[in-house]
């Protein structure tokens, strides 16, 4: 499923990033990398932008970019 389908408080694992190399590098340098876990921390009005937590870094993404990130939703929220 896509990152945009996750709700606030949901956790997931990044599976794939389908973006051009430039954007992928950008995401990469923030630690958004396949295999990493993330948690959705919040969304702005109309879900235009969302905030995610990857390895302790808070990152803001626009809907268009979040759609390019494929994730697998974690069923139970594991305590970290």
């Amino acid at each position: 499923m896509r990152l945009t389908e996750l709700r606030k408080g949901d956790r997931g694992t990044i599976l794939r990033i389908q973006a051009d190399p430039e954007l992928r590098n950008r995401l990469h340098s923030f630690g958004i990398i396949p295999g990493e876990e993330l948690e959705v921390k919040g969304c702005s009005l109309a879900r235009q932008t969302m905030e995610i937590d990857v390895d302790g870094t808070l990152i803001a993404l626009r809907k268009e970019e979040a759609e390019k990130i494929e994730v697998e939703k974690s069923v139970s929220a594991p305590a970290r």
Partner: protein, 707 residues
């Protein structure tokens, strides 16, 4: 003894406290912000270190490079940093790393290690990490990276001496031991290439290992350089084979992606090995604040409330010292007249210089409060949240959430705002932002607004009117952005991916540096440019002299007995003299252009003088309306004069014109520099003047109908 000089390139990701660290080391004045890309220009500071053993003294120059997440050429800052690291002369790199975000920061460290330069890693914010329950084995990390790792804190000042010592030690070493270990299949290929170079005794100024890595990474520059060398023929098949092996292993053909994965594996591995986390506490605080501040429904109202509060504070709190300053300058002017008598020299000092500069300086309290507020928003990390909240909204107008930073900076001064627009990666976003920035009312326009709002709405409403003016300017900007996006700058959107830094209590020292620096800039402008402009305006309004006219009036004055009549005639004389002065001539010549807006020649002249700088509008009006009766100068008196001479619709039209036309010469110069085009500057000038004229015309006529 001659000091040995060491040049250090300071590199780190945004928000790692790089500039704070420099501030702590050298006590230098540098702008530091808790937002990606506040430092765009490269700045330098110097510090000294005395080696206790040989007691050799070292002078360390630290070059503060713009914060960058990676060396990918993604944004202007990243390009600046990369260019510097690859092509400039320096002795070693100090990589500043945020201890609380080690893994992400090590991604950049890995890239830096590949440059093959001498390096020291500074583990900054080690105190914060400890508080969060993160413990880092710096020694072990040093072993993994092959470079010294020094835990430091800009806040508590720990480790700063140790850092300098490490810099000197690394400097003295002949070469770097830095290493980054890749997966076995890549290491094998590197070994094979290194062995080949060794057998060939290939002359290279960088170590073979780094050369091999850069070849495998398809580094264009290395290819270009080696392409014409004889060794290329033999190297080529080896390289092709090596790359084929790597592709086969990874199942990928994008070498950048392969190395990015390697860096990530390296960073993650290094982190796992050196870090032990006990618990997370501070993060929860950021989380709690975020739950409120970026709440879906409350976020934007809270933001608007904070902005409104800031503007109210600016004008209510600023009023008192403003009156004092004004009174001080009035006293000085009166003293000058008393001391020198009614001479030309007294007139140029009291009416020209003191009048003009006094008007400008009296707005300093307002400006300090506003700069303080903006600096506070910036250093606490709130600005990034606002970008997040507003991106959805901005995006509809063809802007980027990040445009918010230059736009808000534009409320302070348009010049740094133009420079702040460099954070925008896509040219389209950048151009649109640059073009609309002038609509954000800069602090230099405050005096004009305060003057007119105070005169025509009363001081008690001035704050609200100002807020409205600011909102109106911003709305204009947004509409202009939409128009530009649809008709002029079409193109791909810039992706919106940005870090939300942790909330931090700003250090007072930091805020002081920012506010003091910006206020000094404002004063410097007042002291030089505006001084010159006010003397020029004084000259143009006093010359040419007309002794005949003066004689005629003096004769009339001598004839009348009533003191009231005398004063009236005196006023008439001043007006007539002004009307025939150079300034009056210019104003009258251009007045037809402004006539449909209801402006008389005095207002026209003020607007033209305002092209130099907006502060000049007020000082010009001051000279134009109160010359001759030096006793009752000052803002209040000027407001009275304006109320008497300018109609309400014309005053509103004047505010609208000032709100919309180009900020100042300095801004125009920077705009040209940032867009790189005289043509764009011409578009900006013609476009904004046309818009200003059209909307002033509209305002004047609509208000005239209503009132």
């Amino acid at each position: 003894m001659e000091k040995e000089k060491i040049k250090v390139a300071l590199v780190g990701q945004p928000n790692v406290g790089k500039s704070s660290l420099i501030n702590a080391i050298a006590n230098a004045k540098l702008h530091v912000g808790n937002f990606a890309g506040v430092t765009v220009d490269i700045s330098e500071v110097k510090t000294t270190y005395c080696d206790p053993e040989g007691c050799a003294e070292y002078e360390i120059t630290i070059v503060d490079l713009p914060g960058t997440y990676s060396l990918n050429d993604y944004s202007m800052e990243e390009r600046v940093t990369k260019e510097f690291l690859l092509h400039e002369e320096y002795d070693l790199i100090v990589n500043v790393v945020d201890s609380t975000h080690l893994q992400r920061n090590l991604l950049l460290t890995a890239e830096l290690l590949e440059l093959g330069q001498k390096m020291v890693v500074a583990l900054n914010m080690i105190d914060e990490a400890k508080k969060e329950g993160i413990e880092i084995d710096a020694k072990q990390l040093g072993v993994i990276l092959g470079v010294p790792v020094v835990p430091v804190s800009a806040k508590t000042k720990e480790g700063l001496e140790k850092l300098k010592q490490s810099v000197v030690e690394v400097y003295k070493k002949p070469k770097t031991d830095s290493k980054i270990i890749y997966s076995d299949f890549i290491e094998e290929e590197i070994d094979r290439l290194v062995k080949f170079f060794e057998e060939k005794h290939y002359p290279s100024e960088i170590p073979y290992r780094h050369l091999a890595i850069r070849l495998l990474k398809e580094d264009t520059q290395i290819y270009k350089r080696m392409h014409d060398e004889p060794i290329w023929i033999e190297l080529l098949p080896l390289l092709r084979e090596a790359l084929d092996h790597i592709y086969l292993h990874t199942g990928k053909k994008d070498i950048n992606e392969i190395f990015a994965d390697e860096h990530f594996a390296f960073a993650k591995g290094a982190k796992m090995e050196v870090i032990s986390t006990k618990q997370m506490r501070a993060k929860n605080l950021t989380q709690k604040i975020d739950n409120l501040l970026i709440n879906k429904y409350l976020g934007i109202p809270i933001f608007l409330f904070l902005m409104w509060g800031l503007f109210q504070l600016t004008f209510s709190l600023g009023q008192l010292p403003m009156d004092w300053i004004q009174a001080g300058f009035d006293w000085l002017a009166a003293q000058t007249h008393a001391l020198l008598g009614e001479t030309q020299l007294a007139s140029v000092i009291a009416d020209g210089i003191l009048g003009g500069v006094g008007a400008v300086v009296s707005f300093l309290p307002n400006i300090i409060i506003l700069f303080f507020g903006i600096a506070l928003l910036e250093t606490t990390g709130y600005m990034a949240r606002v970008s997040f909240l507003l991106d959805g909204f901005f995006h509809k107008f063809g802007l980027h959430g990040k445009s918010f930073v230059p736009l808000v900076t534009g409320f302070g001064c348009t010049v740094p705002a133009y420079m702040a627009a460099r954070t925008l990666k896509s040219r389209t976003d950048r151009m649109i932002t640059l073009f609309i920035l002038g609509f954000m009312s800069c602090s230099a326009r405050i005096p004009v607004y305060v003057l007119f709002a105070g005169a025509f709405f009363g001081t008690e409403h001035a704050g609200n009117i100002l807020f409205l003016i600011y909102i109106a300017g911003a709305l204009f900007g947004l509409m202009a952005a939409k128009v530009l996006r649809v008709f002029v700058f079409k193109g791909e959107d810039d992706p919106f991916v940005m870090e939300m830094p942790k909330y931090r209590l700003p250090s007072l020292k930091l805020i002081y540096h920012v506010v003091a620096g910006q206020s000094m800039d404002y004063l410097r402008k007042a002291g030089t440019f505006i001084l010159f402009a006010s003397v020029l305006v004084w000259f143009a309004s006093n010359y040419p002299k007309n002794p005949e006219l003066e004689k005629r009036f003096e004769a009339k004055i001598a004839q009348t007995a009533a003191p009231q009549e005398k004063a009236k005639l005196q006023g008439r004389l001043q007006e007539e003299l002004l009307a025939q002065s150079y300034l009056g001539q210019v104003g009258k010549a251009t007045q037809p252009f402004f006539a449909p807006l209801g402006f008389d020649w005095k207002l026209s002249v003020a607007l033209e003088a305002g092209l130099a700088a907006k502060e000049v509008v007020v000082s010009t009006l001051g000279v134009l309306y109160s010359l001759g009766n030096a006793a009752d100068k000052g803002a209040r008196a000027l407001q009275e004069q304006l109320k008497r001479h300018v109609s309400f619709p014309a005053a509103l039209a004047f505010i609208v014109f000032v709100m919309l036309y180009v900020p100042c010469f300095a801004a125009m110069a920077v705009f040209k520099q940032e867009t790189g085009s005289w043509l764009y500057l011409a578009y900006l000038f013609i476009g904004t003047t046309a818009v200003a004229w059209a909307f002033s015309f509209l305002t004047y006529n609509v208000v005239k109908l209503l009132v």
